[in-house]
Every structure is written in C-alpha cells, then in structure tokens.
Symmetry: D2
Subunit: 337 residues, 4 copies
C-alpha cells in the first residue's frame, strides 16, 4: 500500500499534535516538511516556507494549523496547487471568504476536511452509534455541556470572532453530527460573568443556546469560558426508546473516602489531554480516506453550516429573538452548495 506524503503548516500546539501523530502513530503517511518561522527545533524534517511546502512536488496533502487569518489564503493556494487539505477550524471568520475558497476547492477538485476533532472522541462516537443503531428510537432532544477551564487572553479574544464562532462552533458541529439533520432556528441568551478581559473584548463567556431542527426536534447547548473544576465536555441524547449520556474523562478512577466526604479526580484539564485520542483518529481517518480515495469524513460545507449556526446565535443575542438559519444564509450567502 502506498504512503501519502504530507506537509504541516504551523507547528504551534495543534500543529505539533498532528505532526507527532502523523510521524509516530499513523501508518501509510510520511511528513516531508513542516513550515513555521517561529519553530526552531530539529524534528528530522525540513522547515520551509508555506509557499514552498504547498508547491513541494511530492507533497500530496497539506495540514493547515497556522493562525486563523491565514487559513483561507493557504486553502486557496493548496487548491490552486492541486493539494488535498486538512484545515483546523475555523476556516475563516468571514462567511464570504469561506464561500469563495470553498468554490476554489470545488473547482480544483481537491478534498478539504475541517478539523472538528471531537467527532472522533470515543464518547461522542459511542453516542452517535447508539443513535444510528436505533437504540435511542426517535430522537427528541440533545443536550450538550461544553465549558472551558479558563478564558483565553484578551489578545486572543479580540481576534477570535467571539465565543460562538471560536468555542461553541465545536458544539454546533456536534449538534449536527449527533442528530444527523439540519438546524433551522437558533435562540441564545448570554452573559459575560467570568473575567474582565471578556467584557473588555466585548465578548460573552456564558450562554444557553436552543436549537430547533427542521423536523421540530430540539437541542440545547450550555457554555462557559471558565469552569474552575476543569474542562467539562458532556452530552446527553433523549428519545422514544431511551436516553444516553457521556461524562468527562478523568486522569484516574480513584475515590477517597474520609471524614469530610467522598473525593474523586477532576476532569482532564483541557483539549490537549481530553481529545488526545480524537486528534489521532481524526488524522488517521483523513489519511485513510485519501489512500482509499473515499470522501473525507468532514467537509468544508460542514464548517460552513456550523458557522451559520454561530452567526444566528450571535444575531439572536443581539436582537433577543429566535433567528433562522435561512435568515443568515439569505443575508450573507448567495449560493451554498
């Protein structure tokens, strides 16, 4: 079986995770180059410019992990160079730019996968399987709890696009993935309770978002940027034949009973620890699909749709009323594939 040859642009936190997985954990792939002007460690492959990497004659697929504001440009370059693309979320903060580059990707007949890694988490995979196998029956209700351990820096917040586009976007994708149908309308309430930097960035840090699907079923997401007890990632699905839920992962299973109570471990602290497995499986699936010439498990349109839910949530908070996805798409979008 042939090996896929790839390059990684951006060797920050996520870039390094993908690089290590590609190098050590995944078969049938070779990393020919990385590109990161600020990364100096010798890791056994050349560190070249992004342009050179994209145009490297042996590289078939590019993993884009650079800062958000470069994603669309690199996608565009990759498309023109005929390279397949794995791009970390978000694609871009401008929906017009997203649409533009999606068109380029389509015209170039390359494949693009958005990095919604949580879809590959064993807990959420299990819930998805239970739904698909009919164990839940007709699904009536989905509940997602998604809380970060601490808000990002003010600097990050200012260029993040806001909590819905930066953080909740994972939950919006999950809401589509688990239910396997499209969101029609969004209502959100939100506040800024956790830090001055969030208020200074004019952002929110706490929200409850209600989603209505096209068939009248519903989902609710609750978010916080600051759960003092760690990274809280839970999900519950309810339907005519049953209910299933998944809890957080913990570093160990201990419970200590003393005179003050029964005490156990906190959840794994953040996405690096919690989603270790999902980052690995995500990249495996990307490589495997390229090798087998199969559709990628997550498309650029998946990214676009999650983004439109986020924009609807933003508008809902601003106007304090439910907002339909149609409203967003008619406003912002001419033609979505």
């Amino acid at each position: 079986m042939k090996n896929i040859k790839v390059g990684v642009i951006g060797m920050g936190r996520i870039g390094k995770i993908h690089f290590d997985n590609l190098k050590n954990q995944i078969e049938h792939v070779e990393v020919l180059a990385v590109s990161d002007p600020f990364f100096e460690k010798n890791i056994g492959v050349p560190n070249i410019t992004a342009e050179d990497l994209i145009h490297h004659k042996d590289i078939e697929a590019v993993i884009i992990c650079s800062p958000t504001d470069t994603h669309a440009d690199y996608i565009s370059l990759c498309a023109k160079a005929g390279k397949h693309i794995f791009c970390e979320k978000p694609h871009d903060l401008s929906i017009d730019r997203v649409l533009e580059t999606l068109k380029e990707v389509k015209d170039a007949e390359v494949n693009l996968m958005l990095g919604f890694n949580r879809r590959f988490d064993p807990n959420f995979q299990k819930i998805r399987s239970l739904v698909q196998e009919g164990e839940i029956g007709d699904v009536h209700l989905l509940k997602i709890t998604s809380r970060d351990p601490a808000p990002p820096s003010l600097e990050y917040l200012k260029s993040s696009g806001g909590m819905f586009l930066d953080m909740t976007i994972h939950d919006f994708d999950m809401a589509r993935f688990i239910m396997g149908k499209e969101v029609e309308e969004v209502y959100a309430v939100a506040g800024a309770f956790t830090s001055e930097s969030v208020q200074e960035a004019n952002d929110i840090d706490t929200a409850i978002i209600t989603l209505k699907y096209e068939d009248g079923t519903m989902a609710v997401i609750d978010n916080s940027r600051k759960a003092i007890y760690g990274y809280d990632q839970r999900l519950e699905i309810f339907g005519s034949k049953g209910m299933a839920k998944v809890d957080n992962n913990k570093p160990d299973t201990h419970v200590l009973y003393n005179e003050h109570g029964a005490h156990g471990a906190l959840p794994l602290n953040f996405f690096m620890e919690r989603y270790t497995m999902s980052y690995k499986v995500e990249m495996q699936k990307f490589i495997q699909a390229l090798i087998e010439d199969q559709p990628l498990p997550i498309s650029g349109v998946d990214g676009l749709k999650a983004m439109m839910i986020a924009l609807a949530a933003q508008k809902s908070v601003a106007l304090n009323r439910p907002v339909t996805i149609k409203e967003i798409s008619e406003e912002k979008v001419k033609n979505i594939s």
Copy 2:
C-alpha cells in the same frame, strides 16, 4: 407542646400520602376528619363533607388534596372559616381566581402553603444549601431535567391546563427556589412527540425552556412527558467557584457486569417513590410552622409566581419569541403582593 388538629379533603393518591404521614410519621398533629365521597375504607377517623370538615370547630388547619377545580373554592371557604390551609398545586388554573383567593386569605389572616413538595427533597435541599453556603460562588447557570415516565390520560390532559402549568410548574418553582431570585423573561420551544393523546389534547410533551433572571443569569429546563426508563429528576448548578449536580434515586445500588455490559437499576419509577421523603418533610414543616407560629416555608405568592412563568412559557411557544414576566403580569394582574 400542643397538638395541631387537622382535616384532609380528598383521599386520592396524594391525600392518602399526606394522611399516612400525618397519622404515623409526624408528631404533634391529630387528624380529626377526612372528606372524600369516593373513599370508603375505614381508617379510624370520620369521613364527612368538605363543608363540615372546614367548619369543624376543633380543626385548625385543612389539607386540600381534592381535584384542582375545587381548590380555590375550598381555600376561600377555609379563609372565611379562619382555618390555615395546605393546598396541593395548582392553586387554580385561572390567575384571576388565584389573585382573588389570595386576597381572601390575606384579609382573613390565615396562612396558606402551596404543595411544592420537591423543595424538601434531600437532593435539591443539598443543592440549595451549597448555593446558600457560597460553595458555588456567583451562580451563573441552573439546569433542570424533569421527565415523567408516561403521559397522563387524555381526560386528565384536557383539564390539566397544559404541560407547563401541570408539570413544569414544579420546575419553575425549583428555578426560583434554588436561585433565590426572580425570573424576568422566558423563552420556550416545544413539541408533541410521545403520544397521540397529547396531540389530541392539543398539548405539548417535550420542551426546552430558557429563563433569564433579573440579574442576567440564566436557567434551562428540559421536559418530557415520557421517559421510557422512568422518572428522571436531575439538577445542576454552575458558578464561579464550582458546579454541583444531583442524580436520580434508584431502588438499589447494584451493577451487574456480564458479557453484554455493565447494568444497573433504573430510577425510582414516579413521584410516589421518588418524593416519599419530600412529602413527609413538607408536611412536617407545615405542622411545625403552625405550632411555632412561624411563616410557612412556601406561600401562595410562590404559587402565583411559578404560574406566571408557566403562562409566559405558553405565550412564548405560541408566539415563538421571548416573553417577559412583566408582560404577563400587566396583562393579567392588577396588583400582586
């Protein structure tokens, strides 16, 4: 210490629970009479008409467990007769009638307690204590899951006032009780998925209700009339210093591990089993407050306020927009104490 002398009107399911608790579990109280034309068992106390019971010269307090459409009339009669009142929820389905009788109660200087028994459940009491002791810090978010094992009969549904007034009203009260502050605005999405009888009654059986409090914090309630796995009553509170949640009670703690998985018991089936303790404590607190001449732990106004949240939720579903409590009160109410 003196004994309080009481009578019980209505010896259906709830009436019998209260009667047994008053007779066998609670000190300093004597049941002098019951009133139920359809109840024929000899339980050692006379079964007389409701009017005779209310006017019995030795009875100081009346426990009203008769059908909903008689509550307001009996409250009115009790007020006129100078008797203290414990009334099962709901007070009445008409907010005007509630206001009218609350005024009579106030003028007569008798005490009225509404039967929001869940406030006395050990799980919810624990959450309330954690909030009050500051263990949660500044509270940002409350989540309530409340699902019945099966919808009531079509006949019951038709006269129930709808799911929000009949079932969710307990959750609306809980949302006020746990947070200790007032709800300002309500948004609800709902559907009828579980049975034809719900659709025939033109009612709903599944809902997500978002509540905004006066200080911008928020709560979300999810309901179903039919959880095939039993009575699902959970709650979670989240704030700056931590998160606490309570789970369902189960009949036993067993887990069976076999080749198919790990299997445990389902939640206690319905309110009779789950809220056994809260019914007992509720009645103890009622009797104790009367003996010590203290304010009752739940007032008629508490019933009224939960009712207004329910009416706002109904209107929100009808109009698909958030509805303020003020809107309901200005519409329906002249002057609420």
Copy 3:
C-alpha cells in the same frame, strides 16, 4: 384477614424501631403491650413485665429486643407459653444454651425467627435474586465488606462475645444467605488497630476471614470496627456468567466539583439509617408468615450456623490455622437439627 397480636420486650434502639414499624407501617398486626422497666414514654399501649407480656392471653407472638443475656430465658419462657418468637441476634453467646432453647422451641412447636435483618436490605436482596435467577452462572467467589463507623463502648465490648460473634455474625449469615450453601472451613487473620478500648477488652477490630464452602467455592469478608467515613456495607459476587456488586447507600446523590476535586456524600452513617427498610421488611415477613402459617424466612438453626462460623473464626485466629465447622460442631454440639 385476621390481625396478629404481639408484644415487644425491650424498648431500646432496636425495640423502638420494631415497635414503630409494627404500629405504623405493617398491616394485620396489633401491639398489645411492651415491656421495658427503663422506658417511661406513653406510647398508647401498656408497659408490663416481660413475664406478664409473655403470658398475656391474647398475645400470639413476642418480639425480643432486650439485652443479649436475657434472650435465651425469654425464648424458653415463650416456648413454654406457646408463643411464636422473633428474637434479635444473638440468640445467646453459649452454643449449649442455644441448642437447649432450640430444642425447647422445637418441642413446643412454636416458630422462632432470628433478626438477621440485612437479608431484607434491597441491595442484598437484589444480589440474592441475581444468583437465584442464574445471572451470575456458577458462583465462584463472594466478597463482603462490612465496617462500622466506630467501635462500641468498652463496657459493651466486654459482654459482646467478641467482634466475630457480635458484628461479623451478620456477614456470616449473609455468606450463607447469598450463596445458598454451607460453609465448611474458616481461616481468619485479625488485629486490634482502632482503639485502646478494643485492646483493653482483649478483642479484635480488623479482620479478613476466608470461608470455604462444601463445594470448594469461597468467600472473603473484611471487617473493621472503625471506618472514619461511616458505615461501609458492600458486597460482590463473581461467577461464570458475570459479576454483580452493591455499594453503600447515601443520604443524597450530590457531587460538587470545585478546584480541589469532585466531592460526594458519605454513606448513611449507621444501621439505623442504612437498614431502615430491612428492619421494616423483616418484621412484615415475620407477621405475614405467621398469618399465612408459612415457615419463617430465618430460623433458629440459621442463627446457630452463623454462630458456629464465628466460633471457627475465633479459633482460627487463636491457632493461626484453618478450622472446619465440623471441628466446632463435634467439639461443642451433640446433635444439631
């Protein structure tokens, strides 16, 4: 259906539990008298001497809850008076005295039930059912954890017969009840680690006891007189088709997550809280069996057999070797029915 008429001897902690259950919770029974010279509260029935109670012409069954050293005498008197007997454990600390009175009971053709209340606990009942229904397959191994929150007083310890006869005897009975077969050999290791009073009483407070059954399967019990975190009562069964275990009961289901960890409630503190339900069901089954003229669910021989396991455990610790039940019975017993 007729009512059984009973009397209660001894109104200490356990006597009061039984009295309350007989009076308020159990149907088809009347308490005609109690007997306790140190009990002065008016509870609506006469407080008479034990002899008068036993010979009361209308009393059919006697509930013996007096101090241990009176049990055998009262059993003997009841047998002579033709009264059925419910006796709290232990029957007597002398196996000869136990055998003597069991013979009197047999000759008098009255029924005797020993108060091994834990058999009626919902958790242990569930395990027993799983075994009987074949869910565990061939049972290979039973594990019992049984720890008290604190050792009794020195005075109590001195007349208790030692930990195995006083405390572990419940676990020995449980080991027979769950497995449904007889213990053949016992090996025990023990120590006195928890308090000076235990050492002063020349008793033990910590032990691991291995039981071999007649078919070669096995059980292990671990005990402590002092679990600082409360009353620890767990059990696990393992066999060819699966494993099942039961955990402690807790006062509520809360878990609090804060920056220090995840914190839950401790087990219910002691037998009064933990075994509330089993005391009630135990007495119901006693009354029901008398009414229906059925065998009592626990016999005097059950008490005798648990006692012989305890004596074997004592001897095992003394000699540091496994001790067979046959050895004990040949030593102490001429003929056991």
Copy 4:
C-alpha cells in the same frame, strides 16, 4: 543530553509495545537492534541474534522480552557483557536460578529492572501517593481484585509455573509496592472452576490469598483467570484516616438508559489496552534512571520477593495452612541480599 542506546530481545506482544514506546514515545533513547528469529517485519533497525545484540559495542542496555525460559541466560550474558537490563517478569521459575543470576548482576555492577509495569498505572500510582501523603493514615488493610478475561492456552499454562507465579505475581508485587512493607505470612485457598485446560494443566484459576505483613496489618487478593466481562483490575486501601479505591478503566463513559435498565461499557479488555500508559511510563523511568545514573525504580530483589510470596501461596494451598516467607526462604535460599 546524551541518548541511551538499547536493543530489544523478543518482538512478541510485549516486545512490540516496548519497541514502539522506545521508538516513538520516549526521548533520549535509540533502538539500535532487535532480536527475534520469528519476527520478519522491517521496522527500520537490524534484526540480529541475541548474542550479537548483547555484545553490540554501542548498546548500553538490553530489553528482554523473549520467552521466560531464556530470561536468566540472557540476564547472565548481559551481566557478563556489562549491559544494563530491563527484563519482563518472571525472572525465572527457579528461585535458585534467580539467586544465581542476581549475584552475577550484582558482581558485574550492572542494573536490572523487573517489568512490574502495573506500578506505573495512573490508578495505582494515585493510591500509592495517597498512602505516602498520609491521606489514609495508618494503613490497616489492602484489597486487590485481579481477574483476567480468559485463561491462557493449555500449552502456555503447562510452562507458566502456575497461576501464582504467572499471574498473581503482579498482585504480590503490588501488595509490597502499595503498602511499602514486607509480607511475612501467606494463606491461600484456590480452585479450578473456569476451564478444562486449567484442570488438565493441574493448575488453579480462582483464589483468595490473605497476606500478613510484618507489623500485623493485612492484605487480601482475589483472582480469577476468567472474568467473562473483561479484565478486572481494582484495588482498595483502608486505614485510620480514610479509604481509597480505584476502579477499572473503560473505553468510554456512556450510560444508556432504556426500559431494561442502565447500561455502561465493560472494562478495557486486557493488559494491552488497560496498561498502555504504564508500559510507556515504565520504560521512560528505566531510560531516565540510566541517563541520570539513579537507582532503577524496581530491582531484581523486588522480583525475588514477589516470587517468594507466590511460592508461599503455592505451598499454602498444597498444605492448607498459613506459610511464612521465612519458611520459603530458609528452604530455598541461602543468602538473599
């Protein structure tokens, strides 16, 4: 910092785990060669004879993962060649041979680490920390449950040395590791219930083993070769200040509630999945200790001591009496360091 250069002898299941960890997961180490005549895959390093590997001039440490009956010979060769040694358990089935090679290792001043990988499992590490930090207070009792999903083949069983030396040896080591003190006496009961091959091999598959430590405290281990629900690896520690326990790891956290009950995942199936992390950390600690010239975390004497507990357990079952470690050591050993 320098890199340690190593070779791996034996590329079976465990050998491959260690090779992958050394190659991909652990820093400051290079694998220069492997040796396995039955391993044909190209993994980028030469596959040479064991003798050549041991005498390879650049190899500083040898990882021995070959069949048990070769361990002592390779240890001996490594010692003579001045190479540090990591050896999978067991060292050898003959205690005389173990002593002989330990002397050679000592004389050659090389370091030997036995592969008791479970010491590095995050759950057991947490328990060890709680004990060391005093959270348990004076430790009275340790309980270990250790059950395999299925017995090995008849062929394996015949050369395994028996369950105590092959499987329970991990638990004996754990009993020393967690308690931090030496076992003085052993009593074991055992049976063969799970398969005909176990009986044919004249081995046991189910046991309860009681350990007494030199200070009178105690431990109990229960084993089965066949837990139909998977690999069951739990531990509990009890002392004056509290109790702590660790449960199995599961592939996901889901619970499905349907009309039949609440259903969750089974434990991770076997040591490859459960102890992934402990194999990695074990090898990291080995390499790190070599680099820093520190004592290895597990010594050859640790292996010897676990082995003597196993021999005492075997003798206890054979004679049905407690057996002291002294008895074993005086019988088998002249001078143990």
